[in-house]
C-alpha cells in the first residue's frame, strides 16, 4: 500500500515537474533572446546517411533579423543558399563559378524547410508549438517532435542545444525517419551587429 502510494505521488510529481521544467528552459531562452534583434554565425553541417559512403560535410554562414529575415548560405564545398525576406524570397547556387539565381521565389519544398529553420532560430514558443510537441531533453536542450503527418514522414525528432548562460543556439540535430542524421553546429556567433545593405535582397 505504501509502495503504491509512493509510486502514485512520484508519478504525480513527474507529471507536474516535466512541463514546468520545459517551460523553464524556454522561459530562460525567451528572456535571454529578448534583446536580440539580429544575429550572424558560421555553421558546419554534417549529414550521415546509409546511401553515402562518407558523411557529407558542408560549411556556411547565416544571418538573421527577427522575426522574418533569414539568409542561409553554403560556401564550401559548393555554393548555394536562400533568403527569406518577409513574404518574399530567393534561392541560388553556383554554376560555372557564378552565383545564379535559381528562382526569385523559394521552391515549395525549400519554403517549408526555410520556414522551419526560421522557426528553430527564432525560438518563438507560440509558433513552434503549432508544429511541434516541445519537451526538454536536458538542462540546455529541447526536443521537437513534429505534429504534422507530412513532416513526420521525413523527420523523427529535432534537438536544439543552447550555449550555457547566454542561451544562444549552439547545435541543431535533425534525425530523419530513414535513419540519417544531420548535425548543424554553430560557431562565431555575434548578435545585434549591423549587416551590409542587400544581405536579404540579393545573393
Amino acid at each position: 500500500m505504501v509502495v503504491r502510494q509512493l509510486l502514485f505521488q512520484l508519478s504525480l510529481l513527474l507529471l507536474i515537474s516535466v512541463p514546468l521544467y520545459a517551460t523553464d528552459l524556454l522561459g530562460k531562452i525567451s528572456i535571454a533572446n529578448k534583446e536580440i534583434k539580429s544575429s550572424s554565425m558560421d555553421f558546419t553541417q554534417e549529414t550521415s546517411t546509409i546511401f553515402f559512403k562518407t558523411p557529407i560535410v558542408s560549411k556556411g554562414k547565416l544571418y538573421l533579423i527577427r522575426p522574418d529575415k533569414l539568409r542561409w548560405e553554403y560556401i564550401d564545398p559548393a555554393i548555394s543558399g536562400f533568403i527569406i525576406n518577409g513574404n518574399t524570397g530567393l534561392q541560388w547556387n553556383e554554376k560555372f563559378e557564378t552565383k545564379q539565381i535559381e528562382s526569385s521565389q523559394l521552391s515549395p519544398i525549400l519554403r517549408v524547410i526555410a520556414g522551419q529553420i526560421l522557426l528553430w532560430l527564432n525560438l518563438d514558443e507560440e509558433s513552434l508549438s503549432i508544429n511541434f510537441t516541445i519537451t526538454q531533453k536536458d538542462y540546455l536542450s529541447l526536443q521537437l517532435i513534429p505534429i504534422e503527418a507530412s513532416m513526420q514522414e521525413f523527420i523523427s525528432v529535432i534537438t536544439l542545444s543552447f550555449t550555457d548562460l547566454d542561451y544562444l543556439i549552439k547545435e541543431i540535430v535533425i534525425e530523419e525517419k530513414s535513419g540519417g542524421t544531420t548535425v548543424i553546429s554553430m560557431q562565431n556567433i555575434s548578435v545585434n551587429k549591423p549587416f551590409l545593405v542587400g544581405k536579404f535582397t540579393k545573393p
Partner: protein, 791 residues
C-alpha cells in the same frame, strides 16, 4: 346567360339556405385542397421540358460535387499579420463548421492523407504513353543519368540536403516530375499549396477551406441559417484575419433575405396606400363582401393546386398579386354599378353580367393557354389563376348580390363620376384634335421605344448579385487561380472505367477539332484499356533499357560517393510488375479531394466523369454535340445553358402573351359580335403593353419572366377596363368609371410599392404593372371616349 344568372338569383333570394349550404360545402372542399398543399422550391419546374434538354442539363449541373461545396478563403488583412495566426484561425474555423450546416471539411482530410509527390513515380508504368515514354527515355540516357546524379550530390551539400535521403533513394532521377504537371489538370484551383496541413496559397497569406454542405440551394430558410452560421463564425475570427465565402447557397440566401426585406417594406407601403384608397372610395359596410372576392380566388386557386400538383412550387404564390388584382375587378364593377346608379339588385346583375362574363371568360381563356406550356411551373401558375378566376366569378355573380346592402353614402362616388364626365367633355370637346395628336405621339414614341426592348439573356439576371458577394468571388478566384468551368463534357458509364473510356473517346474527338481540356482526370487515371497498353510499353522499355539504366546508376553513383545499395528502393520499383491505377489508389495518395471534383455518381447510380474546356468551345457546341453524344458523353456549356434558360423562358412567356391576346380577341369578338367594340375593348390592354415595354426599354431593363408576369396583369386589367368602358359608353352606368379608377388605383398603389424593392424580380414586376396598368387605365377612361367621339 344573363337570364340564367337572374333566374338563379331570384330562386336563391327566397331560399338563401341553398347558398349557405353551397358556401359551406365550398369552404370544406377548399379547406381539404389547401390541406393537401406541400411546398417545394424546385427551380427545375421553371425549365422548359422540350427542345434543348435544358431540364436534364440543369439536373446534371445541380448534382455536380461543386454545388455541394462552400469555398472559404481566410486572408491576412495586412502584411504584419503572422502566418501562425492565420493557421490558428483556420483550424479554429474548421472546428466551427459543424452539422447540420456542414457535413465534412474536405480540406481537413489532407492532414490525414498526406500527398507525397514521390508516390507519383509508381503511376508511371500505367501512364507510359508515347508522350511520357519520350520524356523518360530522354532523361535516362548515360549522359543525363550522370548529370542528374551530380546535381543531386551537389544538392546534398547545399540547400537540398534536408529530407533528401528518402527521395533520392526512391527516385534518384526524379522520374515523378514527369507526372507532376498532370496534377494541374485535375486541380480547378491552380494556386493551392499544402502547408501546415492546410490549403495555402504560394504567398502564404491565405488559407482555403473547402467544406461540404447538405443544404440545398433551393431551401431558402436553410441557406439563410447557413449564412448566419458562417457570419457568426467569421465575426469570431481574430483581429487581422478576414474571410470570404463562395457558394451558390450564399447567393440564394442573399436573394431570399433581400426578398423578405423587400416584402416587409413593400407590404407596409402597400397596406398604407390601400387603406387610404379604402378610406376615400370604399368607406362602406360592403367592403367586406368585396374583399372576399380576391380572397376566395386565392384560396380556391391554392386548393385546386393542392389537389392536382404535389408538391406545389412555392414560387407560384409569388404571382398571387396577379390573381388578386384581376379578381377584385369583377366585384368592384358590380358594387359600383349597384351603388352609383340607384339600381335594384336584379337590374344591377342584368347590367353587369355581360361585361363581367366577357372579361372573365377572355382572361380565363388566355391563362388556359398556359396549361399547354412546356414549363411545369407555368402550367401550375395557369391552373392557379384559372381556377381562382372562375371561383371569384361565381362568387361575384351568385353570392355578392345577396351580400351587398344598400347604403346612403353614394354622393362621393357620384361626385367622382361627375368629375370624370367633365374631364371627358373637355378632352372630347373642341381640343379633341390636340389630344388625339398627343395620344398618337405618345403611342408612336412608345412603339419606337418598345421596339428597342431586349430580353433577359441569362438565368442569373433573375436574381440579385450583391456587390460584396461579387467582390468576394473575385478575390477568391484571384487568390486561388480558380479555373472557369464554362464548358463541360460529362461522360457516362455503368462503371467508373466505362465513364473514363467514354471520356477518352470524347477527348480524342475534341483533340481532332483542336481542343484540349483544361481539367481532366484522364492524365492521372486513364481507362484500364489504356493503362494495359501503357504497361506493355513500360515492360518493353525496361526489357531494352532497364539493365543498362541500373548499371549506369551504379557506376555514376559510385563515382560520386553513393554507396552500392543507395538506390535499392528504385531498383525494386523497376523490377516490380506494374499495377493498375484505381480511384482507390489515388485516394490513398491524398488526391481524392481533387478527383472528386471531376467524378461523381448521380442519383440513378450512373458514373460520371467530367472534363472542362475553355470557353472558345462555346462557339461550336452544336457542331460537336451530336458526335459527343455518340461517345456516351454530353457537352454542356454553363454560359449557354444560362442564356437558353433565361431567354428561352422569356421568349416562351412572350409568345404566350401574343397568343393570349389573339385568343382574347376571338372570344371577345364572338361575345360582343362587333369588330369596333372588340378593338376598342382590347385597346387598353395593347396600350398598356406598349407603354410597359417602352418604360422598360427607357429604363434599360431587360424583359424577363417577372416583367412578363406583370404583363399578364396588364392584359387582365386592360381587357376588363376595355370591356367595362365600352359597356359604359352604351349604358352610361355611373359606377363603371369609378370601378375602373378604384381598381386601377389599387393596382398602382400595390405594385407601385414594389418600386421600392431591391430585388430585381419584384422591381421588374412592379415597374411593368405600374406603367402598364397606368397606361391601360388612361386609355380606357380617356382615349377610348376620345377616339370614339363623332363630330
Amino acid at each position: 346567360m344573363t337570364e340564367l344568372i337572374l333566374t338563379i338569383f331570384s330562386y336563391c333570394q327566397n331560399k338563401r339556405w341553398i347558398l349557405l349550404v353551397f358556401a359551406i360545402c365550398s369552404i370544406i372542399f377548399m379547406g381539404l385542397g389547401v390541406k393537401q398543399l406541400r411546398f417545394a422550391n424546385d427551380l427545375n419546374q421553371f425549365i422548359p421540358e422540350d427542345g434543348l434538354n435544358l431540364k436534364d442539363d440543369f439536373n446534371l449541373i445541380q448534382q455536380l460535387p461543386a454545388q455541394k461545396q462552400i469555398l472559404i478563403s481566410l486572408y491576412k488583412e495586412n502584411e504584419n499579420v503572422k502566418t501562425a495566426l492565420l493557421v490558428e484561425a483556420a483550424k479554429d474555423l474548421n472546428s466551427k463548421l459543424t452539422p447540420p450546416y456542414f457535413s465534412e471539411i474536405l480540406s481537413e482530410q489532407i492532414q490525414a492523407k498526406v500527398f507525397n509527390p514521390i508516390s507519383l513515380r509508381d503511376l508511371i508504368p500505367s501512364l507510359f504513353s508515347d508522350q511520357l515514354a519520350t520524356q523518360i527515355i530522354a532523361s535516362t540516357t548515360t549522359k543525363e543519368v550522370a548529370k542528374k546524379l551530380a546535381e543531386e550530390q551537389q544538392e546534398l551539400f547545399g540547400v537540398g540536403s534536408f529530407g533528401k535521403s528518402i527521395t533520392i533513394r526512391e527516385d534518384p532521377l526524379e522520374l515523378y516530375r514527369n507526372v507532376l504537371p498532370r496534377l494541374t489538370n485535375i486541380n480547378a484551383l491552380g494556386n493551392i499549396r499544402i502547408r501546415q496541413g492546410l490549403f495555402m496559397n504560394s504567398q502564404e497569406d491565405s488559407v482555403l477551406i473547402i467544406a461540404k454542405t447538405a443544404v440545398a440551394t433551393t431551401n431558402s430558410s436553410e441557406t439563410e441559417a447557413l449564412v448566419k452560421h458562417l457570419d457568426k463564425a467569421f465575426s469570431e475570427l481574430p483581429e487581422g484575419i478576414k474571410a470570404d465565402a463562395l457558394a451558390s447557397q450564399i447567393y440564394a440566401a442573399a436573394n431570399s433575405s433581400t426578398i423578405k426585406n423587400d416584402i416587409f417594406t413593400v407590404s407596409i407601403i402597400g397596406i398604407v396606400g390601400l387603406i387610404i384608397i379604402a378610406f376615400f372610395f370604399l368607406r362602406t359596410i360592403n367592403i367586406l363582401p368585396i374583399l372576399l372576392a380576391p380572397l376566395i380566388a386565392y384560396i380556391a386557386g391554392a386548393a385546386a393546386i393542392g389537389f392536382v400538383w404535389q408538391p406545389t412550387l412555392a414560387m407560384i404564390f409569388g404571382f398571387a398579386p396577379i390573381l388578386l388584382g384581376i379578381s377584385i375587378d369583377y366585384a368592384l364593377h358590380l358594387y359600383y354599378v349597384y351603388s352609383s346608379d340607384f339600381l335594384d339588385k336584379k337590374e344591377t346583375i342584368r347590367q353587369v353580367s355581360k361585361p363581367i362574363l366577357t372579361s372573365a371568360f377572355s382572361t380565363v381563356l388566355a391563362f388556359s393557354l398556359l396549361l399547354f406550356s412546356s414549363v411545369s411551373g407555368l402550367r401550375q401558375l395557369s391552373f392557379f389563376i384559372v381556377i381562382g378566376l372562375l371561383a371569384t366569378l361565381c362568387y361575384t355573380l351568385f353570392f355578392l348580390p345577396h351580400l351587398l346592402v344598400k347604403t346612403a353614402k353614394r354622393k362621393k362616388k357620384n361626385d367622382l363620376n361627375k368629375s370624370y364626365i367633365s374631364v371627358v367633355q373637355v378632352i372630347t370637346g373642341k381640343y379633341r384634335l390636340f389630344f388625339r395628336v398627343v395620344f398618337a405621339v405618345v403611342i408612336v414614341f412608345s412603339i419606337f421605344m418598345a421596339s428597342k426592348i431586349t430580353f433577359q439573356n441569362h438565368i442569373r439576371d433573375l436574381g440579385i448579385r450583391p456587390a460584396n458577394l461579387l467582390s468576394a468571388e473575385q478575390r477568391i478566384n484571384d487568390t486561388w487561380g480558380k479555373k472557369s468551368d464554362s464548358v463541360m463534357i460529362f461522360s457516362f458509364g455503368n462503371t467508373m472505367d466505362e465513364a473514363l473510356y467514354n471520356s477518352l473517346k470524347s477527348q480524342n474527338y475534341m483533340a481532332e477539332n483542336g481542343f484540349t481540356p483544361k481539367l481532366s482526370i484522364l492524365g492521372i487515371l486513364p481507362p484500364v484499356i489504356s493503362q494495359q497498353k501503357n504497361q506493355k510499353a513500360w515492360k518493353n522499355f525496361l526489357q531494352t533499357e532497364g539493365r543498362s539504366l541500373q548499371k549506369e546508376l551504379q557506376v555514376s553513383g559510385g563515382n560520386l560517393g553513393f554507396s552500392d545499395n543507395a538506390f535499392d528502393p528504385f531498383y525494386y520499383f523497376l523490377q516490380d510488375s506494374p499495377k493498375d491505377i484505381t480511384y482507390e489508389n489515388l485516394k490513398e495518395l491524398g488526391l481524392d479531394s481533387l478527383i472528386s471534383q471531376l467524378y461523381f455518381i448521380n442519383e440513378d447510380g450512373e458514373h460520371i466523369v467530367i472534363s472542362m474546356y475553355p470557353k472558345e468551345v462555346n462557339d461550336i457546341i452544336p457542331l460537336l454535340n451530336e458526335e459527343i453524344l455518340g461517345f456516351g458523353s454530353k457537352i454542356i456549356s454553363m454560359d449557354e445553358m444560362g442564356k437558353n434558360l433565361g431567354s428561352g423562358l422569356s421568349h416562351s412567356f412572350a409568345n404566350f402573351i401574343l397568343l393570349a391576346l389573339l385568343a382574347m380577341a376571338i372570344l371577345i369578338m364572338l361575345m360582343l359580335r362587333s369588330f369596333t367594340a372588340t378593338v376598342s375593348a382590347l385597346l387598353p390592354a395593347l396600350a398598356g403593353l406598349i407603354c410597359m415595354a417602352a418604360t422598360l426599354s427607357f429604363m434599360q431593363i431587360n424583359l424577363g419572366i417577372f416583367a412578363l408576369a406583370g404583363a399578364l396583369l396588364v392584359i387582365g386589367h386592360g381587357v376588363d377596363y376595355g370591356i367595362y368602358i365600352n359597356h359604359y359608353q352604351a349604358n352610361k352606368n355611373a359606377g363603371t368609371p369609378t370601378a375602373i379608377i378604384v381598381s386601377g388605383l389599387t393596382s398602382l398603389i400595390g405594385f407601385g410599392a414594389l418600386l421600392t424593392a431591391k430585388h430585381p424580380a419584384l422591381y421588374d414586376m412592379g415597374i411593368s404593372v405600374f406603367s402598364g396598368v397606368f397606361a391601360a387605365m388612361i386609355t380606357a377612361l380617356f382615349v377610348i371616349p376620345l377616339i370614339s367621339v363623332r363630330r
